[in-house]
Each structure stands twice: as C-alpha cells, then as structure tokens.
Amino acid sequence: MPDVKPRRLSDAEIAENFSDMHPPLSRAEALIEADRCYFCYDAPCTEACPTDIDIPGFIQKIRSDNINGAAHTILRENIMGGMCARVCPTEILCEEACVRMTHEEKPVRIGLLQRHATDPVFEEDVQLFTRGRETGKNVAVVGSGPAGLSCAHRLSMLGHNVVILNRDDKPGGLNEYGIAAYKTVNDFAQREAEWILSIGGIELRSGVALGDDFSLEQLREEYDAVFLAFGLGGTNRLNVANEDIDGVLNAVDYISQLRQADDKGDLPVGRNVVVIGGGMTAIDIAVQTKRLGSERVDIVYRRGPEQMGASQYEQEFAQTSGVHIQHWSQPKRLLVEDRVSGVEFERTTIDADGTLRSTGETWSLNADIVFKAVGQTANTHILGKLAKELRQQNGKLVVDDNRMTTLPDIWAGGDCIYGHDDLTVTAVQDGKIAAKAIDRYLAAGD
C-alpha cells in the first residue's frame, strides 16, 4: 500500500527544518570575518563573480561600519545581491577563488558578509538607487525572474519606461517558485522584488503569458525594445512506460507548491521517495522532502559524482541531511500497483568511446513517490512566427556578448538563452548587460 500523507512531522519540527539554512552573521561575527579579508589587488574573488562585485571593496566598508556603502557596492553590480548572498554556490565561485583557500583552506565567508551588508537595505527599505532622467523610451521585459528584474531595474536607472510581462501571479520567477524554502525564508523573494520595483518607472503586469495573451510581434510594434527572460518550459521525461501514473511527479512542480504553501505540513509526503536526476533540483527536492518527514529518500543518478550538476558541497549537504545518493544507475521501468510502488534500475557504465550503456544488472527501490528532476525543456514555441528569425540552439535563444538576439531590437537572458549555467547570479548579469546594450541602442536611434 502506498504510504503518502501530510503531517509526517509536527509543526514545530517543520518550522525548524525550514528555518534559515545559513543564519545571518551578527555584527561581531561580521567584523571578525571582514578582518580576514586581505583586500587583494585585482581580487580573484571578484574575477570569479559573474556580476563583477568589488568584493574586497564592500568588505572594507563593512570593516569601517559603512554598511550602506557596502550594500551599494554590491547592489550596483548585482541588484539581487540579497538573494545571491543566499543562493549563490559560493563554494565554486568567489569563495573558491579566495586566496585564503591557498593560505589556510578556509575562505572568507563572502556570501554571509554580502548578506550582512544587504539585509538592512531590505529590512529598513533603504533606496540606494534613483531613476535616471526620463528618456521617453519604452521597453518590454518578458519574465520577472532574476534576468527580467535585473534588466528592468537597470533600464529604469537609465531613464527608460519598463513594462514587465509576468506569466505568474507573483514576480521573482524561480526565486519565488523554484529555490529551496530554507534558502530564502521570511518571504525574502517578494520583499526583494518589491524593493527592486520601488525605484519607479517599472510597471508589473502579472498573469499574462507570451504566446497566449500577447505575441512577440505585438511587443515589437508597441515598444522600442524587448528583453526576453521567460526561462524554461516543461520538464524532461524519463521515457519509461507508465510515466504518467499516480505518484510520479515533476520535482519543479512540487517545489513550487512547497514554496507557495501557507502551511508546508499540508503537503502530502511519501514514506519512501526516489528522486531521479543529478542537478540542483534533485538536491532541493530530496532535502526538502526529507525535511517534510520522508523516512527514506534516494537520489539516483545515471553517472558518477563528478558528473552531477550539483556541486560537491551540495551533494554533501544532501547526504548530511539524510539523503542517500546512488550513482551509475538509470530507471529501467516503474513498478506499479494501481499507482507507482517502486523503480527498477539498471546499472550503467561508460564505454571506451564515452557513451553511457547499461551493464544489464538490475536492482530496485520501493517508492511511494517518484520525483523526476532530469532537467527542463526549452519553450521557444511561445515566440510564435518570429521563432524562425531568432537563431536557436538546443531550443534556446542564441545571443551575442551584449545578449542581443538575431533580431536587432530583441535581447534575451537567463535560462532561455543558449549556454546559460542556470545560476541566479548569471541571470542577473545577463539582465544588466542587456539593459546597458539596450540603452546604447535606444540612444543611437535618437
């Protein structure tokens, strides 16, 4: 019998399990940590930051108690410096590059210092940026995730009028619907989005979807420029029989429900859960399910730990959270008793030529719930008739260094462009770079 039910844990246990993953530093902790920064020249941490934040510069300002100055140094390069302080995989970015790694293998905790510097901005609603002199130009931004909000904010700073067309009910994109709950507590994604929009000059229209409610042709007619940041569409399939039976769920959908739930305890949770995939979504669904009270959670990935999309740090985080990670196995078939009851896997190996193949050996796991976390698909079909004029690769938009597509008045960024690494911080950089390019384009048109 399947064992799927809500409230496997008490309210107090769930509250504890979904509290801040990395609690903020106290002022004393921040000052001691800031003192560890060597104020490097041409700092490797800044080099490693996709948004080029002057990290030694903002840490120096923390040291001198110039917190608003520190926040400005961060946010002028990365308007989502607050969220990135919470979700950036710093262990493979700035903190990996920190020279203290060479010195003592303990980097300056840059992520937590960035949070220390930026938290007061949102808590006290400090407006650090002002809208530039009005240019009278109008730009449409499709999508309100990190790329869209970053682009809109920068365009407003440059004096342009922006309309954000947002498919969802709330702004924020994956910040609001996709990130694990314990990484962004206290409704931070909404507070950050509201703060970004409060600069003015940005109209947010929610519940309208490209392809359904308006077309790209319409946008080109009505606006002087368009920035596309609509993210990804559906999820990849496992391509096994009975994939649509009860108990087989898309991880991203469940994570979204979890983020939007008024009471996380209401969500039904399986006793034995199998997660198929190897990226951040797999880690996030596995850990969150465990924290909702699943007894046994297994992530099964078809290749080895080095090939997983999730960093080693994230893999260890899952394991210390009680999640089992099984490598070199892929689903062969779903075991079914009215609904899913388990998964049979076949072991895999890599041939001399590098292709993955089954060894023929099989094994299985019981499962009350199976989560699919094997990647998301592009959804460029929403581009309509213009799709053929916009060059694409693997179903994603191809852009140049300025994030311009193959149409001169259309830019794109975030998960919908080819070559994107699926990080929030990179999406923010896309939006920033595109906004600057759009500004130059609009100025040249005058």
Binding site: L31, I32, Y38, F39, P44, T102
Partner: protein, 434 residues
C-alpha cells in the same frame, strides 16, 4: 634554563619584569595578586602630598582597536594615587614585609621645593621600599600643576629634583622620563648629573584617541568635554625603543642604567628593550588588557629565548643590539638587497604588486605569461622592504643581499667595500677618502 634573576641598581627581583607605576599597582590588593602571579617587582602607583588628588568619575581610558577589538593603543587621564598617603605607606610596608624577594619601588611626584622633598622622602623610604622612581612623565592633569611632564620637559628641574631626592634618600633613585620632548638625551643627562642612579622610560605620550561619531565631541569625554591623555600600549613601543637606544648608544649617557617601558606585551617586546640597552622592563598596559597572567609568557618566553641563544642570564642580553644602531649617514650605501618572493608560499593576493605599483617603484609583476603571478623585477627593485611589510604570509617575501655581479637596477658592479654618505660624491660636505 637561563637565569632570569635580575639585579637593577642593586635591587634584586626573581625576574626582570616589574609592573609599572599605574592603576595595576594602586593598592596592596592588586600588588599581592601580581606577586602571586609571579611578577618580579612593582612600582607603586605614584604617591603625592596630602590631601590626595581627585580623579574624574567617568571614563579615564580610551583605546585604539583593531577590527577584532584587540587593543593596539591605549590612553588614560587618571592622575596619581587618590588615596591618603598614610594608607599607601602602610600597605607598602606590609607588602614589602610579605614579599621580601620582590622589588618594591616608590613612585613619587612632589612640588618643586626642597622642604617638601625633605619631609616626604624619609617618610616614604621608611616603608622598606627598595628605590624611588621620580615621576617626571605624567603628561595630563598633574603637568598643569607644574609637576609630572612639566618637570620632565625642563632638564634643569629634573636635575634639581633628583638632587633633592638623593640628598634625603639612602636608597637608589630612578628618574622616569617623559617622551614628550624633541630629544631624550638632555633629560637623561640631567637626571644623571643630578645624581640619579638610573632612568626609566618612556612615560606616556600626549594623545587624543578620536571623536565620537554621533555627538562629534572628543572621545572619551567627561560630561561632553575631554582632555588629552597619556598614550601607551603596543603602538608606542617603537617610540620607546628609539629613546632607550638613544640613551644607550651615546657616550655621555651610555653608563646610565635603564629600566625600559612602553608597549611590552610579550617576551619578544622585552627582548627588544633589553637588547637595545634596558636592564629590566616595566609593564602596565598589557596587564590592564589581559590581567596579570601574562607574566607566564613573559618569563617562560624570555627564558626559552635565552636558552635558544645560549645566553645564561638576562645580563648577557643587555645592550646586545646597541652597536647596530647608528646615524643614517653611516649606513653602507654599497650594500644592495632585492626582494625575493617564494612562489611556493605566495597566495597570490597581489598586495605586494599594488603597493609597489601605486606607491613605490613598479618592481613587482602582476601577470607573467598570461598567468596571475607576482615576481620581483630586479631592474626596478630598490630593496625598500615595503612588499615584505605588507605581505600577509610570514616568510613569503624576503630581502636577499646581492653579494657579487652587477645590480641590474643601477648597472653598477657590487662593491664589497663599505661606503657611506660621509664620503659619497653627491655629499657637498663629504670627507675626503684616503
């Protein structure tokens, strides 16, 4: 084990570490605790005439902190003892009786007339104190009343008061010097000529710590107003070492026994003072920051150091470095050093590069063959030691002498003969070489 037993002006103590005259030696309670902890001696908080002075009932201390709130520098506006003289004398007598092997020195500050000295000096000596220390150094409060640093800044007054004290005392007299002078030699000489048996230095330095960033008033303040205080702690050590070395290396003062004071926090600081000419040392600020327990590291560290050096007693270290202190004009201008960066130890922070690039001689690379790499460019390096000073990794950058060949910066062959400014062709006042 090296022998730490110390004898200064004939005063014996089990180690060369005395507590300086200051709040830690204000009363028997504190001094007993210090002696229990192992301190070799104590200079009692400065005695004065009755009625006793009064102190402010507000902030007396201010600190210069590192970011981790380590105290780097410290200042105070506390005056001399604010207790009746007889209370102090009674306690001193008892402490000396209870701790006969420890040095107990009476610090005194008296008005500038002989009858006062004639009255108080025998009374204080009667406690059994081992010596007097004349406080001619306090730079705040008492100096406004013509005592402390007001005396110490006028060599004639120093000599006069030293003579009065010597005349009425049978125990040794130490004169404590103020650093608030342009040249420490005349005050030291005056003390010696007045008959003093030795000098101690430095007292504290005139200072204001900072302003309060909210009220934009001086900080610390008493009811909105502040007064300059005496600066001490680690930050003043280099100033004190210079003054100690000046007295030790000049012929007219080199015979004067010195008790070194100023920023001693660990045994290495004590080695600095002793090697530059002090026979013993006095400590205050470090004890006020960490308590008396620091004596463990001071004695243990000094003893281990002496063992490592093969020196059997503290006396063997006294003045060892004095001969290496000279005037600039006698430095060997033919000696050439270059910085060398150990690439194995380098953590690639780039601090050496940027300080050299921005503020010195553009002698350190930033990129080599497209890689982040910091190497010294010998053609530009003047051997200034800036990179060594800023490098966060101990031992990563060292200065290495060029002993042969050509200095790539000047194109001049290395000359093993010494040559200094006194004979340099660019010196219009040069002496002819033979």
């Amino acid at each position: 084990m090296a022998d730490l037993a110390s004898e200064f002006l004939g005063i014996k103590s089990p180690n060369p570490f005395w507590l300086a005259s200051a709040p830690p030696t204000d009363k028997a309670y504190n001094v007993n605790r210090a002696f229990e902890a192992g301190w070799g001696g104590a200079v009692w908080k400065t005695l004065g005439e009755d009625p006793p002075i009064v102190n402010v009932s507000g902030p007396r201390y201010g600190a210069l902190h590192s970011n981790e709130r380590r105290v780097i520098g410290f200042n105070n506006i506390e005056l001399i003892t604010d207790r009746p003289l007889q209370v102090n004398l009674d306690e001193m007598r008892q402490v000396k009786r209870d701790w006969p092997d420890r040095a107990l020195v009476a610090s005194v500050m008296l008005p500038m007339n002989e009858p006062t000295w004639a009255k108080y000096v025998p009374m204080i000596e009667d406690t059994g104190a081992d010596a007097f220390e004349l406080n001619f150094g306090c730079p705040h409060g008492m100096s406004e009343r013509g005592m402390g640093a007001a005396v110490g800044q006028v060599p004639e007054y120093i000599q006069m008061a030293a003579e009065w004290c010597k005349k009425h005392a049978t125990i040794p007299v130490i004169v404590k010097l103020t650093p608030n002078v342009t040249n420490i030699l005349p005050p030291a000489r005056a003390a010696w000529e007045g008959g003093a048996d030795g000098v101690s230095l430095i007292n504290t330095i005139n200072s204001i710590m900072r302003v309060d960033y909210d009220s934009l008033t001086m900080y610390p303040a008493t009811d909105g107003m502040g007064s300059h205080g005496g600066y001490c702690g680690s930050a003043v050590k280099p100033i004190a070492l210079h003054m100690v070395a000046e007295i030790a290396r000049h012929a007219e003062t080199s015979r004067i026994p010195i008790s070194g004071i100023g920023g001693i926090g660990d045994w290495r600081d004590a080695v600095d003072f002793i090697a530059l000419g002090a026979s013993n040392v006095q400590v205050c600020t470090a004890a006020m920051i960490y308590g008396f327990k620091i004596i463990d590291d001071l004695t243990d560290g000094l003893s281990n150091f002496l063992d490592d050096k093969g020196i059997s007693s503290v006396d063997g270290l006294v003045g060892k470095a004095v001969q290496s202190v000279t005037d600039w004009q006698y430095l060997n201008l033919n000696h050439v050093e270059k910085a060398v960066i150990d690439q194995e130890l380098c953590i690639k922070c780039g601090r050496c590069h940027i300080v050299c690039e921005d503020t010195s001689h553009q002698a350190i690379t930033h990129t080599v063959n497209g890689e982040r790499r910091f190497e010294v460019i010998d053609e530009e390096c003047v051997g200034c030691n800036l990179c060594v000073s800023v490098c966060p990794v101990d031992g990563c950058i060292t200065m290495q002498p060029l002993t042969s060949g050509v200095d790539p910066r000047t194109g001049q062959a290395i000359d093993s003969n010494k040559a200094d400014w006194t004979t340099h062709p660019n010196n219009p006042m040069r002496k002819e070489t033979s």
